[in-house]
Amino acid sequence: MTVRVGICSTAHTNAEVYGSLLSEMPEVDLVGISDENPGRGRQRAAAVGVPLLSRSALFDAADGVLVCSPTVDHEAIFEEAIGDDVAVLTEKPLATTVATARRIRDRASEAGLLAGMAYPIRFSRSMHWARAAYREGRLGDLVAVSAINRGRMPGGWFADPDLAGGGAVMDHTEHIVDTVHWLLDERVVEVYADLATRFHDIPVEDVNLLSMELERGAPFVLDGSWSTPDEDPFWGDATVELVGTDDAIAADTFGQRLSHVQESRARTTESVYWGADPNVGLLRDFVVAIQEHRQPRATLDTGVESVAVMEAAYESAERGEPVDVRY
């Protein structure tokens, strides 16, 4: 069965990536793109050869949509999807506050909406190796987790607290926190956050250092700063290291890269990821979920949990001390 998929807003940089991948999937009919910014939307739609549609037309035409809007718009888009019974795979975070995230999840659940979070790192083969090693007992009991997920400052609405709910914490905490929850089957219970604005002249934090504690007591540290220079040959990184009582393993989502020196541009080197694309796994899971009438692997519950950790991080930074996460 071919699944009709649309992209709702291209405000998020990943919309372009999703559009390109979806247009190449034989089991997918990419029916169109809607965008609150028509100029941008027209460009993105033309790039993958699909029409620019109004949101209501897109929801009429699609079995499922990828939501790539500013975070603050998610709740309204979910309401529309519920009304039209269109499956949703949403960019993270689910909402700018835990209260809103819970409300979205509860409304979707009551309506029986098929909906999930766009957490591609769950589909990283390196992370699957780490998960298997841990779950098969080869690492022993967990001693500690150390992770990084830095990136370039994306600018635009990502750095607008009204639209994004914050800065680097909202953008670069969630992928790794969700991955660690999924790897270990235990959640973060306490967060100490050291936040600052040091790299850019923006009204939100770009330094995002989190020291966390997991349910069974292991420490978990994450650098999720927007510290990657604009001229860096790669956009960022996403690694998780698990230290156990018997062994340690480090998984790098984008560890398989090649260097490309371009002579046409002065001293420019590009770093190119050539490993299996986790976004393909993410999109395929969404398509299969629609075909099989099941929920995507990363449910909205996981989205609520991630926002709870981020909200605790902001509270910790405000108070200058560790705080408990309230799920």
Partner: protein, 351 residues
């Protein structure tokens, strides 16, 4: 001719003894260690370039470096028996030997942390001030070409305003190699002291520390989040293979993990980054430890020993003395307090 007494564990004393033996005018008449020191085989090559005057360049100095040294259990006894000009303390938190040396008016080389409690550090400060003796901060990173280059670049503004400094490592390292100063310590916080010292050296005073750790018999982990006075942030992340650390401390070789280090400074105008891919210009299938072209005649240990001997000869005070080592010690003690109390701690006010 400086006569230097060595004070430490067997392996750390052995490392120093080999380096001092390469300095033509230095003698080591006394060793204070719990057991007969194991003097490691240098296994290096002859150098004919780049080694300063006064350092021998042959692969092995003639004879056993400690053949003429007597072993003692106690530094005071060693000082009573020998005419010693200075004391090299190669183990951390050795406030007892440092005090003994200072009371005798002797220069001391000692790594941070200098003490295990704020009161012991305060007492040490009083004794050093009263005696007029001087102490050289024995943090080996300050003699590393990499950390020196890193510091120069950062202080010259190569990355602009510093945002995040991140050091992450797995220890112990190989027997030799550029990262060899992590051969011995099994205590993650003691190992982190070297990184904290470099952080202070590179980015200035540390105002606040938060620490967490996880421990087991085989592996241990520690991470520290720090705030610098100028607003920059730092992270130190240390994972210890405890079995390998115990073996190395006892002078035994074990398989252990590959040495791993990421050192990174990110600023608003760029990033400096070093990983293990950047430190091994020599590869040898049969010996993973043979990955560094530096040799005991001129590695970090040698440069530290040479620097201390030079200060002893001239009487000129080192750039980083007691105050520098004490400031790093206060940061380590603040981290320990943070571990105990689960809150961020200000090093300046720790009591």
């Amino acid at each position: 001719m400086p006569a230097i007494a060595l004070c430490g564990s067997g392996p750390t004393v052995g490392l120093r003894a080999v380096r001092y033996a390469r300095l033509a005018d230095v003698t080591v008449p006394a060793v204070v260690a719990p057991e007969k020191p194991v003097v490691p085989t240098a296994g290096d090559i002859a150098l004919d370039t780049g080694v300063p005057d006064g350092a021998r360049t042959t692969p092995e100095p003639a004879g056993e470096p400690l053949a003429n040294a007597e072993r003692y259990d106690d530094l005071a006894a060693a000082l009573a028996a020998h005419d010693v000009a200075a004391v090299d303390v190669s183990i951390p938190a050795a406030s007892g030997p440092i005090t003994t040396a200072a009371d005798a008016g002797l220069p001391v080389l000692a790594p941070p942390p200098l003490a295990t409690s704020p009161s012991a550090l305060a007492d040490l400060a009083d004794r050093v001030a009263t005696s007029g003796a001087w102490l050289q901060n024995g943090s080996l990173h300050r003699e590393s070409r990499f950390y020196e280059r890193l510091r120069k670049k950062v202080t010259n503004g190569a990355v602009g305003q510093v945002g995040v400094v991140r050091f992450a490592r797995t220890i112990p390292g190989p027997r030799w190699g550029w990262n060899a100063w992590y051969v011995a310590p099994g205590d993650a916080l003691v190992a982190a002291a070297h990184d904290l010292d470099v952080l202070r050296w590179t980015c200035g005073d540390i105002e606040r520390v938060f620490a967490r750790r996880g421990e087991s018999d085989a592996y241990a982990h520690l991470h520290l989040l720090v705030q610098f006075r100028d607003g920059a942030r730092g992270q130190v992340d240390v994972t210890v293979d405890a079995d390998a650390a115990r073996d190395r401390s006892a002078g035994r070789d074990t398989a252990g993990p590959d040495p791993r280090l990421t050192a990174e400074v990110s600023g608003d105008r760029g990033r400096i980054r070093l990983t293990d891919d950047d430190v091994a210009p020599v590869w040898r299938a049969s010996d993973p430890g043979a990955s560094d072209p530096d040799v005991p005649a001129d590695d970090c240990y040698a440069r530290l020993c040479r620097s201390f001997a030079a200060h002893c000869r001239t009487g000129e005070r080192p750039e980083s003395g007691f105050e520098g080592a004490a400031a790093t010690t206060r940061t380590v003690l603040a981290a320990r307090r943070s571990l105990e109390e689960g809150r961020p701690v200000v090093p300046e006010v720790i009591e």
